[in-house]
């Protein structure tokens, strides 16, 4: 496994692989890798001859009051996590390698980015689309892998790739959970012991919603209220949003329908966690 920090080195490796007709899978990450990331790498490994993991805490997708400075980093542990899965190349650039002082070009998706997390984190998805475009152009992969946990991000990236004609297949991979149901996330490392216990309420709310839906409930209002109530029993938790939206448009729905996405963001103490599920039957 190679670990490189410059765009030039990635290009050289990619050119060599292309010359040898190797397919390339890309897994863009912000590092502090967990089993969720590793499941993306495994999928990439299965579909492609070579796998590139990028590790870059992208400053332009963080708002001024967000956790850029404190975002967890551990490159040495990340290298081991990549090695375990048989990753071929890690690209872990500095911010200065990715953004020159004259940098001034941005990629953005309208509408899809105005819902859910986009509404609460202005500029976030513009930062994501821009860095993902850069990573696509640097690594020129055949396929790129994103977690379904970031459901809005996955929808936005798919829209961008279709609209801008990137010749890349986007593959969404299922949420990986801890044994108690908490979705794996690098931000879980922020949680104190008591917060970690409280954090399971996101998953419990999802299970509660699924049970209601299984029994025939279709009203988004009714389901959302039950989820809200369940979470409000947890004193360390504060709901940012719970929403049901159409998976394609991310527009709110009042009644559960084919391909509804239920997404929620909840503060556990100061840590903002997200989770979601997709209702695919009508």
């Amino acid at each position: 496994m190679k670990v490189v920090t410059t765009i030039r080195e990635v290009r050289e490796q990619v050119n060599a692989w292309r010359q040898a007709d190797n397919s390339i899978g890309l897994v863009p990450t912000m590092g502090f890798l967990h089993e969720g990331h590793q499941s993306l790498m495994q999928a990439a490994k299965q579909d492609n001859q070579k796998v590139i993991v990028t590790i870059f805490v992208n400053p332009i997708q963080f708002g001024p009051s967000e956790d850029l400075a404190s975002y967890p980093r551990d490159l040495e542990r990340d290298k081991i996590a990549c090695e375990q899965v048989g990753v071929d190349l890690i690209f872990c650039p500095d911010a200065s390698e990715m953004y020159s002082p004259n940098f001034n070009s941005y990629v953005d998706v309208n509408e899809l980015t105005e819902a859910l997390c986009g509404k609460r984190r202005p500029g976030h998805f513009k930062g994501v689309c821009t860095v993902v475009t850069k990573l696509f152009n640097i690594a020129q992969p055949d396929r790129a892998y994103f977690g379904q946990k970031d459901a809005q991000q996955l929808a936005v990236i798919k829209r961008m790739v279709t609209d801008l004609n990137f010749n890349i297949e986007i593959i969404g991979c299922p949420i990986v959970r801890e044994s108690d149901g908490l979705a794996k996330s690098s931000r879980n490392s922020y949680l104190s012991e008591s917060e970690r216990v409280a954090a399971v309420c996101l998953y419990q709310a999802i299970e509660c919603a699924k049970a209601m839906i299984y029994k025939g409930e279709k009203s988004v209002n009714v389901i959302t209220q039950a989820m809200q109530e369940l979470i409000s029993k947890q004193p360390l938790a504060k709901v940012d949003y719970i929403e049901f939206v159409d998976l394609a448009t991310l527009k709110s729905v009042d009644l559960l329908a084919q391909d509804s996405l239920c997404a929620l963001a909840v503060y556990i103490g100061k840590t903002r966690l997200i989770d979601n599920f997709i209702y695919q039957h009508d």
Copy 2:
């Protein structure tokens, strides 16, 4: 020479060329081709084994009050112009092939697009950057060719390619002129006989500026005023702007310096024409 209208057909041809290790040059145009475009194709032909010309009047780079509907089109003549130069592939899609009803992704460059034409044509360069990104991703060329006549466009595209790490070399080609000095432009076809005569005032203003500079004048104010006066003698002409800017930043300069760009836009009747020159010595 092949002429295709779908993205799929371009991808198939590009894949075949890539398999055969052919280099590809791209000349993006809006058609109604003239010797200016042909000089780009010739440059592309010299540098690359295969040349793709795209002909697409891109709706999203026109403002609501601009000339999208009347923009001149003549595909049959354009095919001959491409054939003459030995172009390998023309891609001339419909708007519906390029923009699906759900299209919602955009590429934009800040600051550089706020000067000169960008100030007068809000959204124009966002439309240009977006379609050029799409064409880059569809044709995946090694090199792409743009005319120096659209100096701001060239600067913006170069910035975008650097910032977003497109693996493409951008090549600017010199302005091609009519025998009286008028810069070749598809929009020259709008001009009536008397307007065509009047239109030479842009070139005359440039020649006047160059003569003043040759004699040692450095004050942008003094030079601009002389250009303005020269053009104002022409009753069919109305200056939109005459500006001297730094070639890298497109910020206004007061005194002529290394790499100053003098750009002007002038209405001749209802037709807006642009021209420019670069002052490269200090």
